[in-house]
């Protein structure tokens, strides 16, 4: 029993009296709304009391930081030993442009790097492909060959700085380039650390950056997890991501449930396909969540996520190593919560979302820039975003104590509710035969589409408010300076790529691509072949074309 009978009785009697009072006052002064709910439309009560968390079991549901169920954090010391990593997601134009931005960020106190690639790179096309026209450098940096990659990381000590790369279908290729670049710097591959996003399930569900069908996509992911476990033990070969699920319009519960169910799918595949024991690789799985605008819902989601993953690893997969039970995650504030109208308000939104992520115990954080709803972020906007994290860390005092909201009637109740609702989704997906089956049925896609549509309707009838958009709108235009990516970047990048193609040893390229293909046919691990191919200056697309040839291509079913 979490509370004594006496306390519950006292609480009950006082709450009854309060309820009577509320009825009287509300009759005279009605509430502003008939129903109060989170941004995910989860109904919230006027008051939470001991009654709402009376069934908690302290040891199994709450506990202490660094111990099962890890609700309060993975680290016994919290943020006192070390803050979360200030990791600003960044990439634009050419490799040199991005390298300059990265050096600037590191000088300003960024403590980890995070690469944004342009669309052709994300989709496995070279800049000279007809499919790539008009996209070069627009949403991130263009990488075609190892030479571009070497320019990207010029002057960055890869054995010291950790780098996260948001790359999915071609994750094997970019990771191979990173490993090749580290080798050239003389770094030991066993010492380098970083993350590849490499989470294809959420691509089919939400982000839509896909190349091959789900089944072979998972095979490539299991290859990276196996390769990492054996040779790059400090690397996170996957970042199982809810961020994009949320940006596509899901609720917090859906983000939590689908992300964790994706994680289960990956673990099952590695065990089955590679014959590894769960403790051989589980400690290197990492996660990535959104921090949306609904403050408490986000904090509770992150707390619930840690507890759920610990329970899954312990009970479902029988993991023994405590580190296998840790859900380590990066967080990014919600791009979809920002508004093009009155863009300076975005600084405030991002600060509140970042605060929620810190109170939720994130290990790593990206804060969006105020202008990201309009264009790629300017240096000035990025600096404000980074400073937002530094102010939270160094000035507000919220990092002084671990999980400061624990024990709150509301916070613990909401944490439990999110977890319970997420379990329901997980068992439904289990019932369908797993996440790949659920995706084939269009289930998560449809659930998210419903939620996104519901929210849009709520905005239309002002049941939900976006300041400056459907309330407090002004005609005044707040101009922010826009960053533009010159179309000249594309011409230059194509020129550079042709230069590499003319210079390289074509026989070596051909040989390594043929090796890669036969490795795929034999279902061998592709990583060693990928590394050799990039070292021989095979292009990103040449390697991805081998994947497309052997595995086929996935097309968007266009569910709405």
């Amino acid at each position: 029993m979490y509370y004594s009978d006496r306390l519950l009785l006292e609480s009950k009697s006082l709450t009854d009296k309060w309820e009577e009072e509320v009825r009287k006052i509300a009759a005279l002064y009605p509430d502003q709304k008939a129903r109060f709910s989170t941004v995910s439309d989860l109904e919230i009560k006027r008051l939470y009391t001991p009654e709402d968390i009376k069934d908690l079991d302290f040891t199994n549901d709450i506990g202490v930081p660094g111990e099962f169920p890890y609700l309060r954090g993975n680290q016994p010391t919290g943020y006192r030993g070390r803050y979360w990593t200030f990791r600003m997601f960044s990439g634009m134009g050419s490799a040199e442009d991005t390298n300059r931005r990265w050096h600037l960020l590191l000088r300003e106190g960024n403590t980890g790097l995070s690469a944004a690639f342009d669309y052709p790179t994300l989709m496995g096309y070279d800049t000279d492909s007809p499919r790539a026209k008009g996209e070069c450098g627009k949403c991130g940096v263009a990488i075609d060959t190892l030479e571009d990659f070497l320019a990207l990381v010029e002057g960055i000590p890869l054995d010291k700085v950790t780098t996260s790369m948001t790359i999915n279908p071609p994750a094997t290729v970019l990771w191979a380039m990173y490993i090749a670049a580290a080798k050239r710097q003389g770094a030991a591959v066993s010492e380098i650390s970083g993350t590849i996003q490499n989470d294809m399930l959420k691509e089919f569900i939400a982000q839509k950056t896909f190349m091959c069908p789900p089944e072979p996509s998972i095979k490539l992911i299991s290859d990276t997890i196996e390769f990492g476990a054996k040779y790059v033990p400090r690397w996170n070969p996957i970042s199982i991501s809810g961020y994009h699920i949320r940006e596509a319009g899901s609720t917090a519960v859906q983000e939590l449930a689908f992300t964790i169910r994706d994680g289960i799918e990956y673990v099952e595949d590695v065990i089955k396909r590679k014959g590894l024991a769960v403790d051989d690789f589980a400690s290197r799985l990492s996660f990535f969540f959104n921090s949306h605008i609904d403050f408490f819902e986000e904090i509770c989601k992150m707390r619930a996520a840690r507890r759920m993953w610990a329970r899954i690893m312990k009970e479902r997969f029988k993991a023994k190593n405590p580190r296998s039970l840790w859900m380590r995650f990066h967080t990014q504030t919600a791009g979809c919560s920002l508004t093009a109208q009155q863009p300076y308000n975005n600084v405030v939104r991002t600060a509140l979302e970042a605060l929620a992520a810190v109170l939720g115990g994130t290990q790593s954080l990206h804060t969006n820039s105020l202008d990201e709803v309009l264009c790629l972020p300017s240096e000035h906007a990025v600096e404000i975003a980074l400073r937002t994290q530094q102010i939270i860390a160094e000035e507000t005092g919220v990092a002084n104590t671990i999980d400061p909201l624990a024990g709150s009637y509301f916070v613990e109740n909401l944490t439990n509710r999110l977890e319970a609702d997420a379990w329901e989704y997980i068992s439904r997906i289990d019932g369908m035969g797993g996440m790949i089956k659920a995706i084939e049925l269009g289930f998560p896609q449809m659930e998210i589409a419903d939620a996104a549509y519901n929210y849009q309707r709520q905005l239309a009838c002002k049941e939900k408010i976006m300041v400056g958009v459907n309330k407090y709108a002004t005609d005044e235009r707040q101009q922010v300076p826009l960053v533009e990516i010159d179309d000249r970047i594309e011409t230059e990048q194509i020129g550079r790529l042709s230069g590499v193609k003319r210079r390289r040893d074509w026989n070596a390229v051909r040989r390594s691509l043929a090796d890669l293909k036969s490795a795929l046919m034999r279902e061998d691990n592709v990583m060693p072949h990928c590394i050799e191919a990039v070292e021989n200056l095979a292009t990103l697309q040449e390697i991805c074309d081998v994947y497309r040839e052997v595995f086929g291509q996935y097309r968007d079913p266009g569910i709405f």
Partner: protein, 133 residues
């Protein structure tokens, strides 16, 4: 009396951009508003979009792009439609599109641009006024 043919709308995603939340919401919104709606899914080339628009005999194509490639891709859809003799199909666009690109797109034949924060009602109103309902 001849039964009035329902207006057909195609929502399309040109290029490599996968941000389809807005496109899918619009598709559903127009369907709910009584239109016939076709949604192409992501990653279509301008050529594919034009061909699908002709094949589906649509009255309006709504393009969505959030990657910054609209300057190239939106005009290409219009010129592909023209090349197939289907310049009567109205083309509008939406996404993250800076105001300074509006003249270029208008000149290329994009009849309206809707940017973040545009209400569903305002888009519907434009369609009612310019294409019909």
């Amino acid at each position: 009396m001849e039964k009035k043919r329902k207006i057909r709308i195609m929502i399309a995603k040109p290029g490599l951009d996968g941000h389809d939340r807005g496109a899918r919401i619009l598709a559903r919104f127009f369907r709910d508003a009584g239109y016939e709606v076709i949604y192409t899914g992501c990653h279509q080339t301008p050529e594919q979009i034009a061909q699908a628009a002709i094949q589906e005999d649509v009255d309006l194509v709504g393009l969505s792009c959030l990657s910054g490639a609209h300057r190239l891709l939106f005009p290409q859809v219009v010129s592909q439609l023209k090349a197939h003799g289907a310049e009567d199909i109205t083309v509008i666009g939406g996404g993250i599109i800076p105001e300074q690109d509006f003249p270029l797109l208008a000149e290329a034949g994009i009849k309206a641009i809707f940017t973040p924060g545009a209400s569903l009602e305002s888009i519907l109103q434009w369609v009612l006024d310019n294409v019909g309902g």
